[in-house]
């Protein structure tokens, strides 16, 4: 192997080993290392490809997931399918991407029951994964409740019973226990239990609303869905909107579509329920399809409730926004012979498409307007107004735009993503919106990273050649590195022993004639003296003259050896010095680039600090607005109380008047208003979300907007 090839091989080996250590936190396995070195040497992959492959590898993703990092998984379903033997990884991936039970089941090619058993057998909690779903079980100490309480996600856990009440432990958003409280359960009804807890009014408001609308509590999921669908259909709501409403409330898209279709056929709720059960959809009633669009953007709350329209407004077709594919199609990875854990893809690594600065998707708020408008002008106007007011009070704009602005302002990805996660968990945005938002965030950051990379040079922590210095600087650096490498190589190839021997031979050859002359002279002198053959024990078996001469020669040889050694070391030192000197331009360039990078970093840091300040100011402003919103809310509550009083009076008058007093719609509206303006319910409307949930018996389907 030539020296240059050997050096390249060593360098590639070193670089890939570094990648293994830095990304995968382990030493390379032999087959994997060999595969990547071969790929590098053949030019079929670059170090960037290797790094990307490592970052996209299941090994890295699983490790990142388990350490709480946010990672981008090219294909979550495929990832889950490939890692089905690691329930914890599946759980973490699903949790990060907000997958629900059906999606996980689909990815695992299992039924939901088997999926539940899969997690149960593995000891992995499943409840917290079901985004958008409130799972609860009465009486159990380990049941978890996740509730939307403003900006923070507060978790409560029933940890026991005390004085005939439930002892509830409250946790903050970080899982730190904060306080406990006693809650009075309503064992006959989930709603009552929740109300007893005093924290779920918002969450069950819609359910109560719909339950009241249905006049009776459903006994099963299918029954509730069928009942709601039938009621909506009875209200003249088109099939698509019924399906949208159901889906929006957490019903599986297929089930919602089926139920809406059945309802649109004017089937009785029982028939719809029966058909749903026959179709087996009952198992997926509460699934939230990840692709379901949630085009809802709350409008600013009106100062006064808008009267319900007499005719349902036209609902624009809900077209899911085009989401650029963030994950290129995966192809079977090229597996090294001994199946190294890190499987290099043959396709280019996952690089999100360069997108312009994220423009937060505009979530249309007309959906809810039209939706609730269809429910009744009074109801919808109040509903919409309250929600819009809250959203407006929260951010003054829609959250996506807020995130986009943050991103544009330089908020890092994690912060943006956490914000999006918060929005998702708070129900401010749907899963689809979340995905779109995440994609946009990622795209924006990719664009930002690309731009930054172009400005700062491609920097990798593995010593990859960068263009921090620009083309000319890079050329200078390359030339300097090459010259230095040559010098170092020569120095490395300098065999000091051999070189010393060469020097010694030369010196010996130079001095050999003189030495020979001296020897001959001594010999001649000894011969003339007849002492040539003299030898004595006292002189090492030779004559004193020869002994002295040989000692002198030996001393001279030792001096030559020393000189040769010094010369050889000096030559190697010269080569090293030359290499070091040749490196100086590169080092200077690197220093300059580093300084530039530091300056850039400092600039970015300043920007980020600025943004952080702005964010803080925004949060503070949001708090101010929140307080204002609460004040407005109180004002509106007062107004609603007054309006309710007026409505009661009108209803009383109507009932007393006997004209239309038994009107069903009027009863419904009255009941709804009664709930809507229930002081308790209003009091539990927090600053972030006004619960508009659709409750279905024991299973709550939370709808948070």
């Amino acid at each position: 192997m030539a020296d240059s090839a050997r050096n390249a091989f060593d360098q590639a080996t070193s670089s890939i080993t570094n990648l293994y250590q830095s990304i995968l936190q382990r030493s390379p396995d032999q087959n994997g290392l060999q595969f990547w070195v071969d790929s590098l040497s053949k030019g079929t992959a670059t170090l960037d490809d290797v790094a990307n492959a490592f970052k996209n590898s299941d090994e890295y993703i699983v490790s990142a997931l388990k350490t709480g990092q946010q990672v981008t998984i090219p294909s979550v379903s495929d990832f889950i399918n490939r890692n089905s033997n690691d329930p914890q990884a599946v759980q973490l991936a699903a949790k990060q991407y907000g997958l629900d039970l059906p999606a996980i089941s689909k990815a695992l090619n299992l039924s939901t029951t088997d999926t539940q058993n899969y997690f149960r057998d593995a000891g992995v909690p499943l409840g917290t994964m079901l985004t958008g779903t409130i799972q609860r079980t009465f009486g159990g100490p380990s049941n978890v409740r996740q509730l939307d309480k403003g900006e923070d996600l507060v978790t409560e856990q029933v940890i026991g019973a005390q004085d005939g009440k439930l002892l509830v432990q409250q946790y903050d958003a970080y899982g730190v226990p904060t306080s406990t409280r006693l809650a009075t359960p309503n064992p006959s009804d989930a709603q009552g239990w929740l109300q007893a807890l005093g924290v779920v009014g918002g969450a069950i408001g819609a359910s109560n609303l719909l339950g009241n609308l249905g006049g009776a509590a459903a006994v099963s999921d299918a029954a509730f869905i069928a009942s709601d669908a039938a009621q909506l259909a009875a209200q003249g709501i088109p099939e698509s909107q019924i399906a949208q409403i159901l889906e929006f409330s957490g019903v599986d898209a297929f089930i919602a579509a089926d139920a809406a279709n059945l309802a649109a056929q004017k089937l009785a709720p029982t028939q719809i329920e029966q058909l749903l059960n026959q179709s087996g959809d009952g198992l997926r009633l509460f699934d939230v399809p990840p692709t379901t669009p949630t085009p809802t953007t709350p409008e600013p709350p009106p100062t006064t409730p808008e009267p319900p329209p007499t005719t349902p407004p036209e609902v624009p077709p809900t077209v899911p926004p085009e989401v650029p594919p963030t994950v290129p199609p995966e192809t079977p990875p090229v597996v090294p012979p001994a199946t190294p854990p890190v499987v290099p893809p043959e396709v280019p690594p996952v690089v999100p498409p360069v997108t312009p600065p994220v423009t937060p998707p505009v979530i249309p708020g007309t959906d809810i307007n039209s939706l609730f408008g269809n429910l009744g002008s009074t109801l919808l106007s109040g509903f919409k107004g309250i929600a819009g007011s809250l959203l407006s009070g929260l951010a003054g704009n829609n959250q996506a735009n807020t995130i986009g602005q943050l991103i544009n302002a330089g908020v890092n990805y994690q912060q943006a993503k956490e914000a999006a996660d918060a929005l998702l968990q708070q129900g401010q945005i749907s899963q689809q919106q979340y995905n779109t938002l995440a994609s946009n965030i990622q795209g924006q950051y990719n664009t930002l990273a690309t731009q930054t990379g172009q400005q700062l040079g491609e920097f990798t922590p593995y010593g990859i050649t960068t263009n921090l210095f620009g083309p000319s600087g890079q050329n200078i650096q390359n030339a300097a590195m090459q010259a230095a490498q040559q010098s170092f190589n020569q120095a490395g190839m300098t065999n000091v022993d051999q070189l010393s021997q060469d020097y010694y031979n030369k010196l010996a050859a130079l001095s050999a004639p003189e030495q020979q002359r001296q020897r001959l002279a001594t010999e001649e002198r000894l011969r003339a003296q007849g002492r040539l053959g003299v030898s004595g024990s006292a002189y090492g078996g030779t004559s004193p003259e020869l002994l002295a001469q040989e000692q002198a020669i030996a001393q001279q040889q030792l001096q030559r050896e020393l000189q040769s050694r010094q010369a050889a070391l000096g030559e190697r030192g010269t080569l090293l010095s030359q290499g070091t000197a040749a490196l100086q331009p590169a080092v200077q360039l690197g220093t300059t680039a580093q300084q530039a990078a530091q300056q850039q970093f400092a600039s970015n840091l300043a920007r980020q600090n600025l943004l952080t300040n702005l964010q803080t100011q925004g949060i503070q402003s949001a708090g101010v607005l929140q307080r204002q919103g609460l004040q407005d809310l109180l004002a509106r509550q007062l107004q609603a109380t007054a309006a309710r009083s007026g409505a009661n009076q009108q209803l009383t008058q109507g009932l007393l008047g006997g004209a239309g007093g038994s009107n069903a719609l009027g009863g419904v509206v009255g009941s709804a208003l009664g709930n809507l303006f229930n002081p308790n319910a209003a009091g539990n409307i927090n600053s972030l979300g006004f619960g508009t949930g659709l409750g279905y018996g024991n299973q709550d389907i939370g709808l948070f907007i």
Binding site: R527, A528, Q529, G530, R531, L532, G533, V534, S535, G536, S537, A538, Y539, S543, P544
Partner: protein
Amino acid sequence: MADQLKPVTIVAPGFFGLNTQDSSVTLPKEFALRADNAVIDQYGRIAARRGWDNVNTSSGFNSTEPTVIHQVIKENGSTEILTIGDNKIYSGTTSLTLKYTGTTWTAQNWKVVTFNSFTYFFQRAHAPIIYDHTTGNYSLVSAYSGYTGTVPQGNEVLAAYGRLWVADTTSNKTLVTWSDTLIGYAWTGGSSGSVDIEAVFTNGTDSIVALAAFNGRLIVFCKKSIVIYSGAASNPTSNLVLEEVIDGVGCISRDSIQDVGTDIFFLSETGVRSLGRVIQEKSAPIFDVSKNVRDDLISDVIANNDNENIRSVFYEKDGFYLLSLPTRGVSYCFDTKQRLQDTSCKTTVWTLAPKALCSTNDRKLYISRSGYLAEYTGTSDNGETFRFAYYTAHIDAGAASIFKILKKLVLLVIGGQSTRVTFRWGTDYGTAYRTTQTTLDSFTRSEYNIAQYNINEYNAGLLINSIRKPISGSGRVFQVGIEADIGSDIFSIQQLDVFVKTGRVI
């Protein structure tokens, strides 16, 4: 009227010793053409050598002739004669005491040195032996307590400058190894060391034959060259310095080397030479000691056919250097008392050729005989006569072209009581000598009736015999020979007169 007899007088005949190298015609009358069993006595006369007597009372050495005689001079001044024969080491003179038996010896060409309370025995390819004077024990050096290193099994050992020097091993002929200072059995550590002289030879390679300490130098005798080192006296490892390499002259026999006081005599391929000591010049000139008998000597050395058994001794009392060629059965005696003008030594030849010689510090000369340790003394060879012979050079009486008619010979002899003397003469270089014999009278003689130096030599008064013998024959040159069977008295020729009558011119 006939001419008067013309005397040709040779005073101190043979005073110059043998000269077989020069032309007889021009040879001075003082040279002899034959001088068997002769020496140059203290008066410069040619005389018969002394005889020898067995020292040990009974035959030893299993009736073989010892090869080594060594005098051990101990620290207390006492001496001990060690004799090696029959693969054993004996101690004593009149009675031999077996000290060590070499069960594995394959030769007895030991070189023995005494050094610092020990006597060491070295021979090529044999484990060196140590004799501890204190304990009286003999053992292998390698088995001696305190032995260190590896003692070389050299054929040559030299005790000089405070250490032992060893060379000429089986495997290395150019390495000189020295022991630690004063410790002849320590061959590593300390100041022990070695020098390989392979690189110093100037004409090819060579082999070390012997070592000698001389004039503060270490002399390394090789077969064809001589390497002289200085600085051997103190820490040779540091100070040993080559001083001179004498090429073309070497030593062919280890035991031919003798320090004669001012020179070192050694046998080279070209005869006996000396390494002169010239202190002032710091040089070591070479002298040809055997110049006048060179060819005969070389011939005899070659005929001896074994340079290992050649022995020599410097007998300072009589001042001669004796080189024995045992196999050849002849010894060359070089008189060192007064050299000839050409620095050569007066040379005589002995028919006595011991395998071992030893001059002791009490002025005795021990020689080896079969089964015995003998002493060079007396006038007979252990009771047996030996033939003394002296032949003059060819004499022309100053007129080589005039015919001479030999008429009378008058010989003046010192000693020779009861000695049968044979006169021989010949003319014109012929070997057909005419002969006449006479036996000298036996009577008591006394020189003032006082024994000289109270020793039995010459203690009697000198007997001067004047012998007249008519001779005959004629020729241009003539030669006279005197042979005497020495067994009862000294025999020294004082003067020789030959009366001739000159004749016609040739």
